[in-house]
């Protein structure tokens, strides 16, 4: 049974990813991307990694994607944006992702009622993940925290560039000389 469920989830993931790549509207593409991430989470669950599945949904589908969707929607304010919003709610747009999500939901319900461990490998619980992250791999966590610090400081500084360019008329008035050969 797990094998069938795996193939369904994998097909949903592939289908959703292809659609995410081929949509011209960013918001539509993001919705498909979320579906694709949900499908990957189901696959993780099937493989016996419920903690990774939960993280996939919390971090990717939950936090990052919702942030993306908010940013894109906030960029579309005003009359024109409202019109676009109305078009976005067209059934043709949401029916397919909703259908795919329903398939995943059904799979999840089936799994929760009669899942008795993964077919291959062992079930990895959240406790085991925590034990190894804060046991032998504690340095990896520390390095990852420095990585986040670097990302944060970098994002702050690069973001500042745009803020200062808006307020600082001089920087726009005075273009920097940039000679650039296009030979390669």
């Amino acid at each position: 049974m797990e094998l069938i469920l795996f193939y369904i989830a994998a097909a949903v993931a592939l289908f959703a990813t292809v659609f995410a790549l081929t949509r011209s509207n960013a918001a539509h593409a993001l919705i498909y991307l979320i579906v694709s991430l949900l499908a990957v989470a189901v696959i993780f669950f099937l493989l016996g990694a419920p903690f990774a599945a939960a993280l996939e949904i919390l971090v990717y589908a939950g936090a990052i994607m919702v942030l993306f969707v908010f940013v894109i929607m906030m960029l579309n304010l005003g009359e024109e944006g409202q019109e676009r919003e109305r078009q976005r709610m067209h059934p043709a747009v949401w029916v397919v992702p909703a259908l795919l999500s329903t398939i995943l939901l059904v799979e999840m319900v089936v799994l929760l009622t009669k899942f008795d461990g993964p077919q291959t490998g062992a079930l990895i619980t959240a406790k085991q993940v925590g034990m190894s992250l804060y046991g032998p791999y504690v340095l990896a966590v520390e390095i990852a925290s420095m990585l986040l610090l670097a990302g944060l400081v970098g994002a702050y500084h690069v973001g500042r560039r745009f803020r200062s360019n808006d307020s600082d008329e001089q920087s726009i008035a005075k273009p920097t000389p940039e000679s650039r050969e296009v030979n390669n």
């Binding site: 791999y137 340095l139 390095i143 610090l149 920097t176 030979n183």
Partner: protein
Amino acid sequence: METGIQALLAPLVVSIVALILMMQIAFKRHAIVSWLLGCTGFILAILALKPMADIVPKMVTPLLLSDQYSLFFSALILFSGLITTLLAKDYLQNRRGENEEFYLLLLLSSLGAMILVSATHVASFLLGMELLGVALYALIAYPERGQLPLEAAIKYLILSGAASAILLFGFALIYAVLGTLSFVGIGQALTQPILEDQQLLILLGTAMVFTGIGFKLSLVPFHMWTPDVYQGAPVPVTGFLATVSKGAIFAALLRLFIDAELYQYQGLMLSLSVLAIASMLAGNLLALKQDNLKRILAYSSIAHIGYLFITLIVYGVLQQPGLAVEAATFYLSAYIITSLAAFSLLSIISSNISETDLDDISHIQGLFWRQPMLALMLTIALLSLAGIPLTVGFIGKFYIFTAGIEGSLWVLLAALIIGSGISIYYYLRIVFQMTMKEPAGGSGAANMDPNSVRLSVLSKFVVWLLIFMMLYLGVLPQTLMEYLGGLSL
């Protein structure tokens, strides 16, 4: 645990100083204080290598190994970081905006490089590489005006991200078959009999790993980003990118290559040979057509990485270290010192003349007549890059040549000779430009007022130190050679 802390003293010092520097920026911005903190961090970390040397080799958790090899490269990385910090002071002084974070990012990037060279596990390898890379994106985009730095940073971000993804996928395939992520573990698992279709997965995984690393090291045909990124980044950062980033990734690759025993795959060795030959020839040929100094150095760095790959192939042919490791470490040291010198001089010339980088070849026209000392030093650095005797570059190339003969790699050696021959043309072209009389109404060095050029004591110290090292190691390389001969992986 105490010895564990001692074995990681230098990375710990760098992390702590980075955190202190961050707090200092948060409370009160002050460029000089930040700069001093940055310098202190690098100097303290270099001093911290001494107690580390007493207890090596020492494995700290499954992730990191402190040994002579990682200590030597940590020293090189910290030295390059210190030089970059020293140069950045003069360079950033002429540029408006918040300059304090520069030193923080530099410390974090060096930390990533140090983790990379002591990595013995895929997790620490990837984390170190990402830490190095993420801090570098921000450093490349550091100048607050001009489109080129931003363009360069975005190119580097996207391509480097794609390369990391390929690398990660490759490691995932290897893990799927072997079930281990430590380098030595992979090597041991490979000696066990493996099914044929699983062999294929491992080969595919290895190929993807080398593709990812090829991107980061800008081997041909994964080199497209290099000239644009080198050109767009501010000069001190370009120097840092060319030396620390490339050097650390190559050092880590060497450890992966040897510990995981990847050299036993004939197909991999063949494709590495092709990549090396393509890099040596294409890098040098493309450099011929450039008029921008940074782009010339970018293409020449592609060729230099190609030369370095000969040592990997020698190892693969001999199936034992021979001269390969010694040649690789010596060449890498020579390349780092020489590139640092070349970029330091470019940085000094740029920070003295204007707010934007002066990197077009016409900008240094007639430099010999205005600034004979600077021009002479740049000439020495370029000759060392070309591998002319009496400089450290020559000894490095000689080493690679000897290692190549040891492995009887005649085709690769032919490519090395042809590549070096071509490279002399474009290095000497820069020297020739500097000796030309000033152009009528030209810009840059030609019309700069000799009195307005003040070389700060700091810049003088930096370039003299680098030139001295280059010539000293070129004439008397025995001490370094003996030391490197004792290094083992």
